[in-house]
């Protein structure tokens, strides 16, 4: 999700078209992030709407110190976490529907295609993780937030975040190997570039 700085600045200046274009370009990724965090489509739709209401309110204060995508991602995280605190605990039965609709909006160069194919299969397994582990994993490993940022967003200590994170990774790797017969390892010999984001 890349957004032009000019478009953001126009929206900040009160250009209604620019604001709508901003929403049009980003709402899918906001919804996807929300869905991964809250675990069901209805709550994710509510979170997405609340995110943009908050964006409208706070956009004037956005100083371009981070990218708009990073800022939007943080807003989404905060709104999703607030929603989860308010929400009555219930099972995310629709989680299994997540992978069916995933699409990669960016063109896929050959070296990215394998990771993307594996990522699509991972969606289902991530959705099946326990809620606390899933949220930590999504924020840290999918969206690249630092351990401290995740801890702040979730009201946990950094140590607690690390424990959940390690358990989630172990569980996910085991689940993936069970379903794919060592697919994760099989990719190892073919991919050399790291591609990981620094935190």
């Amino acid at each position: 999700m890349e957004v032009d700085r000019g478009l953001v600045e126009a929206a900040q200046a009160g250009d209604r078209w620019a604001l709508e274009e901003l929403v049009r370009r980003t709402h899918r990724s906001v919804y996807t992030c929300a869905l991964r965090l809250v675990g069901n489509p209805d709550d994710a739709a509510d979170v997405t709407q609340d995110v943009y209401l908050r964006v409208v309110r706070k956009l004037g204060g956005f100083r371009h110190e981070a990218s708009f995508s990073t800022w939007l991602n943080r807003v989404t995280t905060n709104v999703a976490m607030s929603t989860l605190k308010r929400r009555t605990r219930r099972f995310a039965v629709e989680g299994a529907a997540v992978p069916a609709d995933t699409r990669d909006p960016a063109p896929e160069p050959p070296e990215r295609a394998e990771a993307v194919a594996l990522a699509r299969r991972l969606e289902l397994l991530v959705a099946e993780l326990p809620e606390g582990q899933r949220q930590v994993l999504v924020l840290r490993d999918v969206y690249g937030q630092s351990t401290e940022e995740v801890a702040n967003a979730m009201g946990l200590t950094p140590g607690a975040v690390k424990v959940r994170l390690f358990r989630a990774r172990e569980r996910l790797k085991a689940a993936l190997e069970e379903t794919e017969g060592g697919q994760v390892v099989a990719l190892a010999g073919r991919r050399r570039s790291s591609g990981r984001r620094s935190s």
Partner: protein
């Protein structure tokens, strides 16, 4: 060299998540142990695939964008939702109460100026209706 059992908890971590001593211990062990090297490589691949998930999008369904735009439009015009509507309703009720109270006061004020006796204000004709008991007595 540390045992595989001791190093295993360090394998899922990214380098920057480990203390320098832990990172060194893991690196030394992985360099000498094929099994743990395979395991560490699997976690690296998993991390790359998870990072790739950030680029995938789920379609929120028909009408989702329109609903967001409508909600934003409402916010910009000041009509935001049940709370605001409830507040607006309460304000309206307050204004209506004040208007009615003033009207009643005004009417009483006008009534005060008209100092006619109560009997003269009642212009209903006096009806003589015998009660059933009286009728029977007659």
């Amino acid at each position: 060299m540390m045992s595989c059992h001791a190093v295993r908890p360090l394998l899922p971590a990214r380098v920057e998540e480990l203390a320098p001593a832990e990172a060194r211990t893991r690196a030394e062990h992985v360099a000498a142990c094929t099994r743990c090297a395979t395991e560490a490589a699997a976690y690296t691949r998993l991390g790359q695939a998870l990072a790739a998930m950030a680029g995938l999008e789920v379609d929120p369904g028909d009408g989702a964008l329109e609903r967001i735009l409508v909600a934003i439009g409402r916010r910009r015009t000041g009509v935001t939702g049940p709370r605001v509507l409830a507040a607006a309703g309460a304000s309206g009720a307050l204004v209506a109460t004040v208007v009615v109270a003033r009207a009643v006061r005004h009417r009483r004020h006008q009534g005060g100026r008209d100092r006619r006796p109560a009997s003269r204000r009642l212009r209903l004709p006096a009806l003589h209706v015998p009660t059933p008991a009286l009728a029977r007595a007659k």
